[in-house]
């Protein structure tokens, strides 16, 4: 017992020691940077460490030969190799060599810097050097992996890569990352289930969160669904509690009917301008602010009753009417009416009906609100693929061909038919329903989407279950390529539908023909299991339409400086290891805007994004990479050409000692080098990518080391 106590005591001591280290680290950070442009003439002693990466590298090249060659490169003071340089013993080799060999720079020849640059920077730092005195030579992704069967060639290429890296390493300088404070607030764009979950998590973590939704109500696509697979719980029933929570959370500032108009700044300090679109209706709080006592919209609906304009309700996919002043469904959050300006005739009947509440303003204008946030999460969701583009299936041409979203509304008890599935042509109850899966997904014709939309199989199985349950004798026919039931309890759900009587036909639907008299549909396909053509006469066809990126994805990309993958979805920082991050620090992705996801995956990704977005905020400050541009003032002619070239508005001309010189806002600079490459006087020094360093690399390559 006594011994045990001792060990615990030791452990706490050890912990304390670690804690003590932290402030020491910060001190080093605050050291003054070396004077710009000056290369302190200190003899370069570079250590080169060649990694085998098991057989990944060593299997494709002659490491001893590379090592022998490296010894002959100028400035190389030490060479070593190890099976796994990234392992702890491997890092110890670097650590030891730095002190013992009095190295001034470190080159590791291994994998891509995207993988292990941070690892080796830390090792360099632990050895007592500035971490930016490290350079990586990629001899795996760009060498051994692509020249796997060319031993001689890859050996030579590795020699080149290392020689080039050494040339740069000899000229590297000490750099110090800049720490900036992080605003204790976050923003979530889009209030579907992903955005709501992310906002709730952030708010519960004590972070002020602005939740921006372009629609009039939160809830998104999930609020349009009837039931969720495979549990069959009512979508609204599980979603509305979250909607109510969002509406009530003190830390969430909900802004519906609003859009992000402009984003400036960088991680920790995003200045966001939000356009509050004119809603035409004042909330209770807004009315109070205007001095209208007891006024504002209370959702009574008196305005809607008198409004003479009837329009299709988009929430019901156009299958139910609404007025020009409307709410989409009874459970909207916030419970606030909205005026559709495109159809409002400004007759003023609603204003009269609203009376003393004075909630309606027919002349309201858009307002702009500025907020400052530390991090932002994009949860902008998806659009439905316009499946009418697949003309062979006749959507929008044949009345009884509908999409799955229309099916959801028709089967939903709060939908336009009160939950009775009917044929749009005659209102009859269908007895034979065909489901066309992959309607626009996994489609390489150029007239569809090449990717899998991921949740259509499962909701179509659910639809099959729903018609079997609701309409006695009704038979669902599912035309499929593969049933992708990959999630928890999904495969079991698939078996269940098979047992319940769902008919599965493996074959893509070639075309659908309408009988013009009965409005029945003939579904033509090739049954690839029985190897015979199918001509199936059905009452209703449901197309499981693909999902596609939001129409305004490009605008979102530009606003937040994020990228897209080839298929148009917003691009994550790493598909496996950083699925919520983006290449812009401080901007994260949640839900389907990144790629198709079902509800569980969407919520999981939202919680991941919220967690990632809260880290910098809780840290309080973030380190910016010290790769910013700096002005060598004595060389700067003050021409100002660079100022307009900068894509990040990081440069400005300032008066100094009676003349104009360029000045960099370091936190805004991303180190892209546009200005540095352009400057006619060579007055811009790009930290870590300075002209002498790059020229040395080029020389090292072209001259083959014979300088």
């Amino acid at each position: 017992m006594a011994e045990k106590k001792k060990t615990t005591a030791k452990k706490t001591e050890a912990k304390k020691e670690i804690k003590h280290e932290a402030p020491a680290k910060q001190e080093t950070k605050k050291q003054a940077p070396a004077p710009v442009g000056s290369t302190t003439k200190q003899e370069a002693r570079i250590g080169v460490f060649i990694c085998h990466c098991g057989t990944n590298i060593a299997g494709s090249m002659d490491i001893p030969a590379v090592q022998e060659y490296v010894k002959t490169i100028p400035n190389v003071a030490y060479v070593d190799n190890y099976k796994y340089m990234c392992s702890m013993p491997g890092q110890a080799v670097i650590n030891k060599a730095i002190t013992e060999q009095k190295l001034t720079g470190v080159v590791v020849a291994a994998c891509s810097p995207r993988l292990h640059e941070p690892t080796f920077r830390t090792a360099t730092k632990e050895g007592g050097l500035n971490p930016f005195r490290f350079e990586m030579a990629n001899i795996r992704e760009q060498n051994s992996w692509v020249h796997m069967h060319d031993q001689e060639g890859s050996t030579e290429k590795a020699k080149d890569a290392i020689r080039i890296a050494v040339a740069k390493a000899a000229l590297l300088q000490d750099l110090y990352p800049k720490a900036v404070p992080v605003e204790h607030a976050a923003m979530v764009v889009g209030a579907g289930v992903a955005g709501m979950q992310a906002a709730l998590d952030l708010a519960n973590a004590g972070i002020k969160t602005y939740l921006i939704e372009s629609d009039a109500s939160i809830g998104g696509r999930m609020s349009q669904l009837d039931k969720t697979f495979p549990t069959l719980d009512c979508s609204q029933c599980i979603l509305t509690p979250k909607m109510v929570d969002v509406g009530r959370a003190p830390n969430i500032e909900l802004m519906t009917w609003s859009e992000v108009d402009a984003v400036e700044g960088y991680i920790g300090n995003f200045d966001v301008t939000i356009r509050k679109k004119a809603r035409g209706v004042l909330s209770v709080a807004e009315a109070e602010a205007k001095g209208i006592v007891g006024g504002g919209c209370n959702g009574c609906g008196d305005c809607e009753v008198v409004c003479p304009v009837v329009k299709p309700n988009e929430f019901e996919v156009g299958m139910k009417p609404r007025k020009a002043i409307y709410i989409n469904h009874p459970q909207v959050v916030p419970l606030l009416y909205t005026i559709d300006w495109n159809s409002c005739i400004k007759c003023g009947l609603c204003v009269t009906a609203c009376g003393e509440k004075k909630a309606i303003e027919l002349e309201q204008k858009d307002e702009f609100v500025k907020v400052k946030v530390g991090t932002a999460i994009l949860a902008t969701g998806f659009d439905i693929f316009p499946v009418e583009n697949k003309t062979e299936w006749g959507y929008k041409r044949y009345e009884n061909v509908i999409t799955s979203l229309e099916f959801e509304r028709l089967i939903c008890a709060s939908g336009p038919t009160g939950g009775h599935l009917v044929r749009p042509s005659d209102g009859e109850t269908p007895k034979r329903v065909a489901f066309v899966l992959c309607a626009g997904s996994r489609d390489n014709t150029g007239n569809g989407k090449p990717y899998c939309s991921r949740f259509c199989c499962m909701y179509s199985l659910k639809h099959a279950h729903q018609i079997i349950e609701k309409i006695p004798g009704c038979v669902p026919y599912l035309f499929y390529m593969d049933i992708r039931s990959f999630g928890k309890m999904y495969e079991e759900f698939y078996y269940r539908i098979q047992d319940e009587g769902g008919k599965f036909i493996r074959g893509r639907v070639a075309n659908i023909l309408e009988d013009p008299v009965t409005k029945n549909l003939h579904v033509h396909a090739d049954d690839t299991l029985l190897d015979r053509p199918v001509d199936l006469d059905v009452d209703l066809v449901v197309l499981a339409a693909a999902v596609q990126p939001k129409e305004d994805t490009n605008r979102t990309r530009k606003l937040f400086g994020v990228s897209c993958s080839m298929d148009g979805w917003l691009l994550e920082a790493h598909p496996k290891l950083n699925p919520c991050g983006t290449t812009t620090a401080g901007v994260f992705l949640a839900g389907v805007c990144q790629a198709p996801k079902d509800i569980p995956d969407t919520v999981a990704s939202a919680e991941g994004a919220a967690s990632a977005a809260s880290i910098p905020i809780h840290m309080g400050e973030v380190e910016l990479e010290p790769y910013f541009a700096t002005c060598i003032e004595e060389k700067c002619a003050g021409c100002g050409m660079c100022v307009n070239l900068c894509p990040y508005s990081a440069l400005a001309l300032v008066e100094k000692e009676g003349r104009k010189v360029m000045q960099v806002t370091e936190a805004k600079c991303k180190g892209c080098g546009t200005c540095g490459g352009f400057c006619p006087g060579g007055a811009i020094w790009m930290n870590h990518f300075a002209t002498p360093q790059i020229v040395a690399q080029i020389d090292a390559f072209l001259l083959g080391g014979e300088q």
Binding site: T391, G394, L513, E514, P516, V517, H522
Partner: protein, 304 residues
């Protein structure tokens, strides 16, 4: 106008031999619409794409190229009235224009008869020219009607070789290229005062093409019968098409269906140019409608 809208008229085989009314209607109706069709002298069979193309493509290329060269010598684009001819002449012309090796091979053959394919003319289906607003257009057709076909329900059969294969086809007028549910011939039918009707299987083959009629008449008629069932269901007064071979299959085919399957439909089948002729006031005799296998009388009673 006559100068710009002059075309070498490629007759094909079936129209002049089986339905001469189509030929006369094409020439006469087009003239009223500002399109002059001049004979393409010395033209042979297109040759039939299914029958020749399935056996020896080189013969198909060479014969079709010869027909094109005749038009090149006239320095006139070709207009034709048959989908099969369109497939042969248009497609071979298109291929020869874009494939140097093929062109050289064909020219080697043509050299024996002192001809050379140069690729200087275009090939059009007359229906395409009638629909193209730059040449004629639906409004002009409507304006030329003196005897509107009011009160009739007319179904359209587009035929396969006109529109397919979609990826190879190039159309000058917008709206023609759709292969799933084209509506442009319906627009031209409506311009005559008739009501175009939709039926299931509109885009199904007539049953004749690709050598099926010649090889296996029962299967061929089975396809035709499938179309006839759907045409009957929508109570069409007549069927129109832009291909004499389709017309043959639907017209003579109905007699053969009666013989082989014992089903009688009695649905008049008229080429679009015949309909246009009727609407422009040509007499049934001028149009040779009495030569049709299925009597056009019930339809004519409604429009005359």
């Amino acid at each position: 106008m006559e100068a710009t809208n002059k075309y070498a008229f490629f007759l094909g085989c079936i129209a002049p031999n089986r339905y001469p009314g189509i030929e006369s209607a094409a020439i006469k109706t087009s003239k009223k619409l500002g399109i002059e069709l001049v004979p393409l002298k010395g033209a042979s069979c297109c040759p039939a794409p299914g029958a020749f193309g399935s056996i020896d493509l080189n013969i198909w290329y060479a014969m079709a190229a010869r027909n094109v060269v005749l038009a090149e010598q006239m320095k006139t684009d070709i207009a034709l009235i048959c989908n099969g001819c369109y497939k042969s002449i248009w497609e071979v012309n298109h291929k020869l224009k874009h494939n140097k090796d093929l062109r050289e091979g064909v020219n080697e053959v043509l050299k024996e008869i002192d001809m050379e394919y140069k690729g200087t003319v275009n090939v059009y289906h007359l229906a395409e020219l009638l629909y193209d607003p730059k040449i004629c257009g639906v409004e002009k057709i409507r304006a030329s009607v003196t005897n509107p076909l009011n009160g009739t329900r007319i179904a359209v059969h587009y035929g396969c070789h006109l529109l397919k294969p979609k990826k190879d086809r190039v159309w000058s007028a917008p709206g023609i290229g759709d292969t799933e549910n084209p509506m442009w011939i319906e627009d031209m039918v409506a311009a005559l005062g008739a009501e175009p009707v939709q039926y299931r299987n509109k885009m199904l083959c007539c049953g004749a093409g690709g050598g099926v009629r010649g090889y296996d008449i029962v299967h061929s008629l089975d396809i035709t019968n499938e179309k006839m069932i759907n045409l009957k269901a929508v109570k069409a007064d007549a069927l129109t098409e832009v291909c004499p071979f389709c017309q043959l299959q639907f017209d003579r085919g109905q007699i053969e269906i009666e013989e082989k399957f014992g089903v009688k439909y009695g649905l008049p089948v008229l080429h679009y140019n015949e309909l246009l002729g009727l609407a422009q006031g040509m007499s049934p005799q001028e149009l040779g409608l009495d030569l049709h296998g299925i009597s056009c009388e019930p339809f004519l009673q409604k429009v005359l």
